[in-house]
Amino acid sequence: MRRIPNERGFAAELESASKRYGDVVALDAVDLQLRHGQTTAILGANGAGKTTTVKLLLGLIRPSSGTVRLYGDDPTRPRVRTRTGSMMQISSLPATLRVVELIDLWRSYYPAPLDRGEVVELAGLSGLERRLYGKLSGGQQQRVCFALALSGDPDLLFLDEPTVGLDVETRRNFWAQIRRLVEQGKTIVLTTHYLEEADALSDRIVVLHEGSICADGTPHQIKSAAASRRIRCVTRVRVDEALAIAGVRQAYHDKAVLEILAAEAEPVVRELLARDPGLSQLEITGAGIEDAFLDLTGSQRREDAA
């Protein structure tokens, strides 16, 4: 059922794009290519650079270095902008305008907008059309922002933390709407703090950490990496031996302690104990999504320092 747009090139590209704000490096030489019809979730902690990435792709800020292209073109071009719709993380709409007035205004910006009724229905705003924006609840306001993003029937949607502050049910509805858009062949970029959400919606997850991409893969790949366990122990087993054990992703020494990142802890521990019964100070912890990737980047740094 899913329609994949038949277009050449990429919907959006960053080519070693950096963004500095004074001393702060918000984004550090990021390369990112988004295919037509792909749903990409940008995952990362506060300050990781998610909003910066979205703003660059929307042409709201210019990169300090590198290039940004939307549909092979400069993102600030009006012609390109008629193909995008966006929902920003912070957007205070005028409190004294009614929902339909906002939607109609936004529809007038686009050459081939959706019908008003369709927008209202898709965004779940039926019954709220005549309300003033300022008199809506936070979640309802969020839905109005979603409605504006949809109203021009754009090919590419940017959703910056679209589900923050939504209750569980609204969030599920929202996910269902996004899936409908995906089926229509829209290209979607959304940012989120939650692996669960990224997994539920996207084909591809890009994990940002301090302005760099630290992981990029399918939800399955990212999830299994995130589900990995961290094993720490003091043992005679060497790093190269540990790496040879099935299921071990990474192994390195943290001073006297051997640290291992593995898909599952039990078989690895069994194997370690078999090789070194004298093993001590065994510790097993879960490595959450961020931990898993911070570890990847952190270990590199440790090696660099050594």
Partner: protein
């Protein structure tokens, strides 16, 4: 759903309609017009539903006119016309100037600081339409101000009821909103969202005073009489005074030329400031 399938089947046709194949300019023109109407309506509704911002802009000149033109000025002459007629022209100009600088300038500056503007900038909203809508609002406010002052002058002052003269004055006052909308545009884009109201007041009030909008220029110290020709508001108020035969002896063409130069400078400055602003995100 069927619409989506149609798009699937005929991607080329979809592309041409997007770019606008036949009658493209016509359709584009109609789209811009519709966009401008809706944008203007939104501006209007915002003001009407939340009048707190607009009311001072309207009442300020009326209050001054009542105080200086109708109370102190009662029975006095300013050159060949009554004081209340003279000050109707200058406070009218003062009011229109305020509508352009506050409604337009401060309005744009404040909105630049809001997430709403960021969202608009990310949309394909034609920027010109946004400014044109702000201009409509400034003009509407100007009409209200000029009508209010004229009514006050006729009812309580010595303003003679000469419809042709009054219409000429009102027309000149409203046309004068245009160059100051250009100034408002420059200030709106150049100033920071937080400092704009204070800075605009610091420009507005002294410039109005020094241009003879509060007290007739001949009654001001010589310093101001020599300074005035360098102020755009002076040329504007002289053109307004010209319609009631109360201007000083400089040719009208000079005033028009001065305002034209002023507009060009403002627009150039605004274009520069707009480019500079692209990289700043307040939202």
């Amino acid at each position: 759903m069927s619409r989506q399938e149609a798009v699937l089947a005929t991607p080329e046709i979809d592309e041409t309609t997007r770019r606008g194949g036949d009658g493209a300019t016509d359709r584009r023109g109609r789209r811009l017009l519709r966009c401008w109407l809706l944008e203007s309506r939104a501006e209007f509704l915002k003001v009407v539903r939340m009048p707190a911002y607009a009311i001072p802009t309207i009442l300020f000149p009326a209050m001054f006119y009542i105080l200086f033109g109708l109370s102190f000025g009662a029975g006095q002459q300013a050159g060949s016309v009554s004081m209340s007629t003279y000050l109707l022209a200058t406070y009218g100009a003062f009011g229109v100037l305020g509508a352009a600088l506050f409604g337009f300038g401060v309005g744009v500056a404040i909105e630049r600081g809001q997430g709403w503007m960021l969202l608009k900038r990310a949309s394909p909203m034609p920027v010109g339409v946004y400014f044109a809508a702000k201009m409509v609002m400034a003009l509407l406010m100007s009409i209200v101000i000029v009508a209010l002052l004229t009514g006050l002058g006729l009812a309580f002052g010595d303003v003679p009821f000469e419809p042709a003269t009054l219409a000429g004055l009102a027309g000149m006052l409203l046309i004068g909103a245009l160059p100051f909308c250009a100034f408002g545009l420059l200030l709106g884009i150049f100033l920071g969202p937080n400092s704009a109201p204070a800075v605009v007041n610091l420009i507005y009030l002294p410039m109005a005073f020094a241009s003879g909008m509060w007290i007739p220029l001949p009654a001001l110290p010589e310093f101001f009489q020599r300074l005035a020709p360098y102020l755009p508001a002076y040329h504007y108020s002289q053109l307004a005074l010209g319609t009631i035969g109360a201007d000083d002896s400089r040719p009208a063409l000079l005033h028009v030329a001065a305002l034209c130069v002023f507009v060009v400078l403002c627009l150039l400055g605004a274009a520069w400031a707009w480019r500079r602003d692209e990289d700043r995100t307040y939202g």
